[in-house]
Symmetry: D2
Subunit: 449 residues, 4 copies
């Protein structure tokens, strides 16, 4: 029979957790010694050995052995080579089941912090971009149809809000990750007088798991990270889509910097927005990883089952995908050029100000629905005549409502945006305030979690 | 050309939001009057008309018209019939885009509260079940293989913890749902001096949306509910799987009450755990709805796009599925019978106490790995001999380690559980404390959110 | 305890299968009589009763009873009312497990045929549209950047190919659906001398299931339909995306007919492509249903489990979604207007002909990579100068390659498309042939499967 | 700005396609020479260079350069080093867009063939296992409740049927993969007189793509493989679930060989079915990859977009997962031990023969529903009395139907299976025939596709 051990081996990907695994073992061993479960000498010897193991890994001289299946076994085996059978005491009062739960939680806490940092970077670029073009008016869209003029900065700050929710969501996920599982043993708790609070404190955990059977089979925190990542990628995919559209010749709103476009092997003129497209595409894989883990967990009886080993690869890939995509967006946004005159000219063109005309009639006392109906007819008339609304004369306006007067010619994209002077609205004064708040939030929360 | 209007119609499912839609309109209209945007008389007339509409809907006499596409149009049309063209003033300073965002948020807040209540119900049954069998020992499993004895109550409380996280997750989602979007207009904010704080306060919202473009295109709160629901269904599916396994003839651990089993059209003896199976199966549809909405949102440019209409059916079905499944589990758990003697006898049978033997040797000073190795050989020996560990004599024990002495015969399933006297462990004293805490938590938080 | 029977009830959706269920029962009963398992009189009586049941259902007078859980029970119960206890003989040699498998297969065969018909309808509209604009040149895109000119008809026929694969895929799925499961009983086969070939022949099945345990637990054919539907919706979503982009003001390529656009409650000028957007959005739900059923099936032990009841709602919704979306596209495509002068003028604009220039140099003997490099520099030069390539003079061309001569000015969008005179290419002569083949295929296969 | 080129680089995974890429280039170049588009000398020089490149890759001395982004660029760059600028002629009349489409199709054709071979291996083990235990009777289950006795071989052959459908599905997918895209250029076809038929024939393709725009943007064939793989993993996950259940102490049906179980770091007695669990878990990742690619493709405008680069990693991982899982099952099944006496004794135990009793009454002329009702009451009576059905006396039987006579004691698990003598049924004579057919099928189709 051929050797199938590769099938269950995880060492090629779980080695990523080496730092968390060693940190966990060190804290566990310190506690074992404190509780007189092992001797101080043994603890010191193990600690020295683990320090050596860590150095070897970090200097790439560690003798990884795929035959040893996983990270824990690789480290323990090397430790035994280094310090002899006393290495065997390290695993006292511990199981691989609570050990891997610990490693995963330490790692997840780390990556949540990194992800928040990445989000802050993108938010910073959005703020900087808004500051660069604080009053540029552009067409706002619904249904990919021009709807009403908005400030470019207002559009950018919409994404700021999305990423703000992402940060908030990750912080909440952090709370449920910040729970120390060691002491749960294989499933039932352990028969040694461990000091779980001590271990938690050493490792910086806020809480201690309350039920051993739950603790070894719980991967909710990974799912929750994946779900948060899926939403975050969704936001990035929407921004990516706009980058792609806006850099098309038809829109012509922006030019991406050369770093974020690529040429074609056959078409010499091409400057393709490959980074934005790829980010949009990578959304799929994050959704896939979320669904994969949910599928793994569905219907699993308690407690630990080997299926749970499948919690890692998709998770790690999600982390790598999300962090790198955030890095890309930070710099892609920072380096793009907005074509101000192009977007400004389109902002008031065509029938983009039709809502203003309706509001104008409402201001004259006409019920909204009636005003809306009059302007709709006006728009159809203009289209048939092949004219822009701004090129109609007053007589033409008045064919649709006698309430129209000269004031109608004061309506511009600028007046339209200025009129939306309401909390959350696109009036320049409101956007300036929102921008100031965004900057302040970034400063106040610069320290991460 | 055939009529395709049915394709875009949503009235057959969005009518579910009628209460929230009317509440929102009432608050909006009160505010419009307070701000002198419409007259008090008009406001009163609209309020009376909406009250009438609500009564008609609740007494099933409302003239729903599929031709009117959606809930908003049905209500406004009927309102116009009832009070005349003044109905048209209700929509002043509002768009269907921010209106539906409001309705969805009001609804989601409601269903989060209901879901938490449903979770509390299941937790209550778990607590009651644990109290009914507070000290029954049963086999604990890893890999669906007997591992170590645990208390049945400990096993049940593992699920208590999962549902506790579900509650916590939903509360966090609530925060991000509790944001009032009205005033965002179609996308850019509105040109009327609305008092958004007033509307928020009237409707019981904590926050006001900070960016109009984000507010009309944000469905994060629905995704977040779906993700929380997916995890919650995952937990229920695990419990369902155990109900199915435990009620098999092979396990024979429990009997489900007749209400939760069904017979066969062909096999007269059958008592199938259909409810548990169906709950397990329904997990799939909730995963599907989560993926569906993520897919809808992926790559959508700002702001509102008609794709967003797809945020409802899967969401509503998720709510119905989750709430009814929670109801089922509450009563299915409450009414099941545990076969105490069966589970107790299995708890110490076979090699379920092997870990105890290893710990026993560690207690004699042997490094854990060595003790583990000795007991592994002992187990293989017993298996070859066809004996239970408890039937070996001391001489046989000592063939594998000279440290074994008479004390080995004091090891029982009860001693094994009692030994796991650690926070989160399965010792009866710990489980009793955990049970008391669980009860207290339910009492303290009986009031919902 | 509240009544939970609603939880397991399926009658509100499985009633859709009534026709297939009755057809199946009729064939089964005919066979029972032929085999002398029941008497001819009983068979005749059951057949009369079932005919009556069918009439009652089709005239909406059937007394559906939610308390009777499912379709089978509703029909059998009514049959018993109509013809007395002899109704009980109908279920001889049959189980609900093989009965529902039969119903689902009959239904799936029907919907595959309907879906293929729907696809033919869309293909017909693509062909008609291509014939309406057989030689219009438009910009072809990669990366949503203009790449090379193509014929509009060539672009449309790309979708023809996608739908052709969909048809092919559904036909293959049909083969695996066309398998008669009756006779499998609950799981083990039945102890009656049934004539399975007879039943298969009566019901128009090509094959008979080969293993009873597989037959009652197999839902592969539903998954396969869902997967085919997911791909088909993917194709429609791509076309929808192009409808949305092309009808934006920025592209301005097409105008959708009024039936397929909708206005705004607030913006009087809007003509939103709601149908295309909704179709794009509905792709999500079909993906979700596919994932849902896969999740249901994952890890299910043999044979029938109640989880399998979850094979229906998502499937039925997929069928409804796909069939209605195909209907929408058939008419939306048939009624759209292409702005010929707009797309034609853009086809040769800017740097869309750069590849032609490189090919031109290759024609002069320059290796492709070198030619490509020269034209890339030429394009950068033109961009810096703010000129179109077509406005450069020969001296400017020759700065980048001495091989350029007067012939360069003969390059146009038309010459570029004509040059791609290769099987599958966009040359008008090739597209005309492809169009003729497409028409022939539709004629040859007009008869469905 | 940091270097982001890693983000778009694919060389770390697309190098897997080197063989297909080189084969494709060789055929393309031969054709270019045949068509006099390049000279025979240049073609020979390129062919020699590519042979050298292939040797370097296969002997692990190829200078992979991550800076060169992808496989094509790495190969072309090395080729240029080896043979000079003539290397540039290789890309004449080709784009990376049709080139990667070709590579992916060649690769997919290969892996379909390998997957079918893997499926044949598992089917072979199922057949061998059935032959090893051709007449062993075991309990058959519905709802994880004992239902009716079945032959173990019948149960195994149910899986044979599932995998047979998988083979059939993959063959159908093969047809749609077997289409040669070269000549499509970037999107519009090429302006060179390529001989596409020649290239197709050289590379062993049956068809040539009919539309260039479709050809460069089509990834249906990858989705179709993923969907087929998802179903195949579903089947394997069901078998895995049964391996896990059957090797539990409670079932005790089988023992997996040591190669397919693993121990515990803490519980010395454990023999966990890790391979089966991991296979079950890996189902999730395949579902995830399927959904990921569908998500990538949703709403993509024509033609090539960089999002399409995301077609590879999940696909490759699916291939590796599926092929290795098939290998594992082939050997895991071949080496398992069935505990014949255990399963046989359970087959007739309890109320597993209740259906037989009902059929027995039907044989006496009682309508099925009535017989079913009588036996149901009999079962309840036996349960209350705490007796097995086989231990009731005739008087007890006759309390529920006067039709019971001595013949009732002839009913056994063996008689029950023998009675199901119908095509697809579990009667030994039928199973033997099914087994013979299965063997024949494997022999007839040993040659692969």
């Amino acid at each position: 029979m051929p050797d199938h051990s590769q099938y269950t081996s995880s060492i090629h990907y779980d080695k990523r957790l080496y730092r968390h695994d060693i940190d966990g073992s060190l804290a566990h061993v310190r506690m074992l010694a404190k509780q007189d479960i092992i001797s101080q000498e043994d603890a010191a010897s193990i600690a020295d050995g683990l320090a050596q193991v860590r150095r070897e890994i970090e200097t790439d001289v560690f003798p990884w052995d795929a035959g040893l299946e996983d990270l824990h076994m690789n480290i323990e085996s090397r430790l035994t080579q280094l310090i002899g059978p006393v290495a065997g005491r390290m695993h006292t009062g511990r199981s691989r089941n609570d050990q891997i739960a610990l490693d995963m939680r330490l790692y997840t806490k780390d990556v949540i912090a990194q992800t928040i940092k990445g989000l802050r970077g993108v938010q910073g670029s959005l703020v900087a971009l808004s500051e660069r073009y604080p009053k540029v008016v552009m067409p706002g869209y619904t249904h990919t149809q021009r709807a009403q003029p908005v400030l470019f900065a207002h559009h950018m700050l919409a994404y700021f809000q999305m990423f703000r929710r992402d940060v908030s969501r990750l912080r909440d996920a952090y709370k449920r990750t910040d729970v120390m599982p060691l002491g749960s043993g294989a499933l039932a708790g352990v028969a040694y007088p461990l000091d779980r609070e001590f271990v938690a404190s050493e490792l910086g955990f806020k809480e201690i798991s309350a039920n051993s059977m739950d603790a070894v089979s719980d991967r909710d925190f990974v799912v929750e990270y994946l779900a948060a990542a899926a939403l975050c990628m969704t936001h990035l995919s929407r921004l990516a889509e706009e980058m792609v559209l806006w850099s098309s010749q038809e829109f012509g709103f922006i030019t991406l910097s050369d770093e974020f476009t690529t040429g074609s092997s056959i078409m010499p003129q091409k400057r393709n927005p490959d980074f934005a497209e790829l980010a949009r595409g990578k959304t799929g894989r994050v959704y896939g990883h979320l669904l994969a883990l949910l599928t793994v967990l569905k219907g699993l009886p308690l407690t630990y089952n080997r299926d749970l080993q499948e919690d890692k690869e998709g998770f790690f890939d999600t982390v790598d995908t999300l962090l790198s995509t955030l890095e890309v967006f930070k710099d892609m946004l920072a380096s793009l050029t907005l074509h101000k005159s192009r977007v400004t000219s389109l902002a008031g063109e065509g029938q983009a100000l039709a809502t203003e005309l309706a509001d104008y009639l409402v201001g004259k006392g006409i019920p909204f629905r009636e005003a809306h109906g009059a302007v709709r007819q006006l728009c159809q008339f203009a289209e048939l005549e092949g004219k822009e609304l701004s090129n109609l004369d007053l007589a033409e306006y008045r064919r649709f409502s006698p309430q129209f007067d000269e004031g109608v010619f004061d309506i511009t994209a600028e007046s339209a945006t200025a009129a939306r002077n309401i909390l959350g609205g696109t009036a320049p004064i409101r956007v300036a305030k929102a921008l100031a708040q965004a900057k302040k939030l970034l400063e106040d929360e610069a320290d991460g979690l």
